[in-house]
């Protein structure tokens, strides 16, 4: 995407779409919520306004329709209801897809026009009939760059490029004759769904059902691409059918495909296709003269005769002769279209066909409502100046005498005349303003203004300045223009939108810096040991302390930038819950709390899926249907609360529902039935432990898998994801009252604190958050229980494992020295790991294993040590 304006628009539009969608949901719950409707209306309005800057007419059209509808809702002319909300949400979704497309290809997909027409028409149906007339008159869209056709394209078909060329000349002429004769000729554009073959649709047969077919054209919807990528089961065709059938008949024939077709009338002049050899000669000049005279006098019969006479003598292969055929057809109508006839007369006379020779000037950039003065359309700058002055005239006339109003009008009139260099007029006008103030009446100014407006073109005393031809059409990547010449004292922008990738890069760089600075202590050691320079060593250490502090601060600052509010994910839920609840026939009220709580972007992003899963699970299994709830003496509407808060160094997210709760008895039974646990283990479990079983792999209590939560993943996935992020999941439930799932996650996970340990002669890292404590255990206190080593730590038996064995490495004989034991908390249990020795702790940025190593279990990742060695950091959960 090279257009920075578009690059700015895309995130803005997405944000506004999000705002609109959540506002609509609020509105659905409370149709009289004035704040919500205003919010939605404005968001949609802003999208519409900004989209007009781009070549995205379809998008603007659809948004415009949505805005009009919302305007009616806002003014209470229309009652909002669920089906309306559905329609609006669908439209916004479509706009969202187009925004994605704009981001990818800087253009809308080829079917966008059709889709926009169809969806806008649906929206407008709700507006009621009285508004139908001004429907396609998309004022803002028309200002956007479009095709050459200056006519509003709303009610008239634009023929696909090359369409006429693919038709036979007689077919064209036939269609043209009918169109001129007042019989509507329609173009039916049919874009079958790519998957239509699978619903048993034969698109060719479907379009052939349309009666009155004059010509059919079939083209590829998207370029075909290489043969090996071709999917023959996808329909990639667009059909364009020219038909003389009236609209109801077309709709009847295509009734099953109505959402995939556009029907629009074709103007006769768009059907004209003249071919043949060039020719010249006096007879053509004579004809042009005579025909123009007949035309001017409205003598159509004489014109017909002249045409007939010339046709009988001109060679049938000549271009001009062909033009006569079309002219004759145009004249055969009961009420010939004068512009069309004139165009064809000119064609026969000149050998060139211009479909709209004397068409009214296209909508000039002049402001529409301002009075359009005098017809000297020479200089747009003059025109504009007139228009501005006329507006002042109008404003004063409207306001009557008001000294305050006179002030700005005075400035504007003075400036306009100054800008045009009309000093004499300026002095005259100034006098008029003086007079007006004295007389307390606008009359002197009005008449002076009228005099200026009626006078000669507003020319500059010397040569008029030329208008700049055009501004550079594209906004190049150049530095913001105003940047260089801003006056001092400019208020700094409050916030800055930055591409995430840039922050990620910064984060990676700071990570590298943190690691590189770790080399300095090694350097200090070498200075002391190898070069025997204690002095140098001390200085390096001092410098290290400074760099270390700066790096830490920098890291902290960047972390702050990476913090995102949980609303980023929470905001998806209202829509989701609403849709799912409808699908399930449940009534659910979703409440959000603490959306502003912020956490690192990695955490926020990774949190989406587990949260989605928990909410779905709650909707699917936890919450009862309205009937069940009433039977249980609860309100029919269930409630889900999504709550976030910050607690110490972590962000806590809770999903609370007031559903049926989890029944430990059923869980036990299900777990046994599924072979997750045995009978005696089940008996031993407390109720809470039984509930925790839902996180075991392979567990799902639903009798059959529903299409919501049953996607082949259980709650165990939630647990795995959250634990990978360094967080914890817990669930508490009261039977009949509801369930609360609690996720606790670190605020940030970019930096991991690890402890370095020695085992089997190598160094390994162990994440600090797994380590409970480090102890040295005398050999004699290590006891054997069955075949396992254990030791007692403050009256608790802790099983011992040797890290070297877990890593399948040879034991390092340590003699009778005390065993170094790392007591860790893993998978809910305490375990002692026997290692060779403890080393220092350090902050590292973990890099995940890459390439062939990805599948290697037991390692959380790697990091670089200060001396350049790679340190493997263990993932104890997987290892044990």
């Amino acid at each position: 995407m090279t257009n920075p304006l578009l690059a700015r628009f895309i995130p803005e539009a997405r944000e506004l779409l999000q705002v609109s969608a959540s506002g609509l949901l609020k509105l659905e719950r409370n149709p009289t919520d004035e704040t919500a409707i205003n919010e939605v209306f404005r968001a949609v309005h802003t999208i519409k306004g900004s989209s007009g800057l781009f070549d995205a007419v379809a998008l603007t059209r659809l948004v415009h329709a949505a805005e009009d509808l919302l305007g009616e809702v806002r003014s209470d002319a229309l009652q909002i209801d669920s089906s309306l909300v559905d329609m609006l949400l669908d439209s916004l979704d479509q706009v969202g897809q187009w925004i994605d497309e704009l981001e990818r290809r800087s253009a809308l997909p080829t079917d966008a026009d059709g889709v926009a027409h169809r969806m806008a028409a649906q929206l407008r149906q709700r507006l009621g009939a009285q508004d139908q007339d001004d429907v396609p008159d998309d004022a803002p869209a028309d200002g956007a760059p479009q095709g050459a056709d200056p006519a509003p394209d709303g009610d008239v078909a634009t023929l696909p490029p090359g369409f006429l060329a693919r038709l036979s000349a007689p077919a064209c002429l036939d269609a043209f004759r009918r169109a001129c004769g007042g019989q509507a000729v329609h173009l039916v554009r049919y874009a079958p769904e790519p998957g239509c073959f699978f619903n048993g649709t034969d698109p060719l047969q479907a379009i052939q059902q349309v009666p009155g077919a004059l010509a059919l054209d079939i083209a590829a919807a998207e370029p075909w691409g290489p043969l090996e990528d071709l999917d023959p089961y996808q329909c990639n065709l667009h059909f364009s059918l020219l038909t003389a059938a009236p609209r109801p008949e077309i709709e009847q024939a295509m009734r099953y495909e109505l959402d995939q077709i556009i029907i629009a009338p074709v103007r006769p002049r768009d059907l004209v296709r003249i071919e043949g050899e060039p020719s010249d000669g006096p007879i053509w000049d004579d004809f042009r003269e005579a025909a123009s005279a007949f035309l001017a006098a409205g003598r159509h019969d004489d014109l017909r005769k002249a045409v007939g006479a010339l046709r009988s003598v001109a060679g049938p292969t000549l271009w001009r002769r062909q033009a006569l055929d079309w002219l004759e057809a145009a004249l055969s109508a009961a009420q010939p279209d004068p512009a069309l006839v004139a165009a064809l007369v000119a064609a026969a006379g000149s050998g060139r066909f211009d479909p709209a020779p004397a068409a009214p000037a296209p909508a000039a950039p002049a402001p529409a409502p301002a009075p359009q003065p005098a017809p000297q359309a020479a200089d747009p700058r003059q025109e504009l100046a007139r228009s501005v002055l006329a507006s002042q005239h109008r404003a004063l006339e409207q306001a009557g005498y008001d000294a305050d109003r006179l002030a700005s009008v005075g400035t504007v009139v003075g400036n306009v005349l100054l800008s045009l260099g009309r000093d004499a007029d300026r002095i005259a006008i100034q006098a008029a303003f003086e007079a007006a103030r004295e007389a307390r009446s606008v009359a002197p100014v009005l008449s002076a203004l009228s005099a200026v407006l009626d006078g000669a073109p507003l020319h500059r005393t010397e040569a008029a300045p030329a208008l700049p031809d055009a501004l550079p059409p594209a906004f190049e990547e150049a530095a913001p223009v105003a940047g260089a010449k801003e006056p001092e004292g400019r208020i700094a922008p409050k916030s800055l939108k930055v591409d995430q990738a840039k922050i990620d890069l910064l984060m990676n760089l700071i990570g590298e810096l943190v690691v590189s600075k770790n080399a300095l202590p090694f350097l200090a050691k070498r200075a002391e040991e190898t070069y025997a320079s204690r002095e140098m060593s001390r200085e390096i250490k001092e410098q290290y302390a400074v760099i270390d502090r700066l790096a830490q601060e920098m890291q902290g600052a960047i972390m702050q930038v990476r913090m995102l509010p949980v609303s980023e994910i929470f905001d998806r839920f209202p829509r989701l819950v609403r849709d799912l609840a409808r699908k399930l026939g449940k009534r659910i009220d979703l409440a959000l709390e603490g959306e502003d709580t912020a956490a690192d972007k990695t955490i926020i992003e990774a949190l989406g899926d587990p949260l989605l899963h928990i909410v779905r699970n709650s909707l699917d299994h936890g919450l009862e249907s309205p009937d069940e709830r009433r039977a249980a003496g609860k309100s029919a509407t269930a409630r889900i609360l999504l709550k976030a808060r910050e607690e110490a160094d972590s962000v806590v997210i809770e999903v609370q529902d007031n559903g049926r709760g989890i029944d430990p008895v059923r869980i036990r039974a299900a777990a046994i039935a599924k072979g997750v646990i045995g009978q005696e283990e089940a008996d031993r479990l407390s109720d809470q432990e039984a509930i925790n079983l839902i996180y075991r792999p392979g567990f799902s209590t639903a009798a059959e898998i529903s299409d919501l939560s049953g996607r082949g993943v259980g709650m165990d996935v939630v647990l795995t994801t959250v634990e990978k992020l360094g967080g914890q999941v817990s669930v508490s439930s009261r039977l009949g009252e509801g369930t609360t799932t609690r996720l606790a996650l670190p605020l940030s996970m970019a930096v991991t604190r690890i402890m370095i340990v020695e085992a089997a002669g190598s160094l390994y890292g162990v994440p600090m958050d797994m380590i409970v404590e480090t102890v040295r255990v005398p050999r004699e206190r290590i006891r054997m229980i069955k075949k396992a080593e254990t030791f007692v730590l403050r009256e608790t038996i802790i099983p011992l494992l040797r890290l070297s064995r877990l890593l399948h490495l040879p034991d390092q004989p340590r003699g009778e020295a005390d065993a170094a034991v790392l007591v860790c908390h893993v998978n809910g249990r305490r375990v002692g790991l026997i290692i060779d020795n403890f080393r220092e702790g350090m902050d590292v940025i973990l890099k995940p294993l890459e390439g062939v190593l990805t599948g290697l279990g037991g390692y959380a990742g790697t990091t670089l040590l200060g001396d350049g060695r790679v340190l493997l950091v263990l993932d104890l959960r997987e290892l044990l």
Partner: protein, 125 residues
């Protein structure tokens, strides 16, 4: 380079960038405000030769902003252009009634916008 100062009051961030770019290129110094309240705060600081005001904005809309500006003695002489997506004459009429000097329909043609700004500030091309 006219160096004339324009305050653009517009809630759409893309539109603001558009004004910055188009008017900035033409030599104007463009300052921005994202809603009516911010616009009023900034214009009260003074020093602007022209205001371009969007009609539909949060907090305080364009009509309200313009009418408040006109009630401020120090701001009665400043030229104000209102911009809206509405092409209806009634909207223009309302804008003139509250004190606007010119009404432009969105999206503004860049050439028109620059020329309007030049004319209303008395700047030379």
């Amino acid at each position: 380079m006219s160096g004339k100062r324009i305050l653009v009051v517009e809630d759409g961030i893309t539109m603001r960038m558009f004004y910055q770019d188009v008017l900035g290129r033409a030599g104007f110094v463009v300052e921005e405000a994202a809603n009516g309240v911010e616009g009023l705060e900034k214009v009260l600081l003074g020093g602007f030769d022209l205001m371009i005001v969007d009609i539909n904005m949060p907090k305080m809309d364009g009509y309200e902003l313009v009418s408040r500006i006109r009630r401020e003695p120090s701001l009665q002489a400043i030229p104000v252009v209102t911009i809206s997506t509405e092409a209806k004459d009634a909207d223009a009429s309302r804008a003139y009634a509250v004190g606007a000097n010119f009404y432009i329909v969105k999206p503004a043609d860049p050439v028109l916008l620059v020329e309007t700004a030049r004319l209303l500030t008395g700047a030379q091309a």
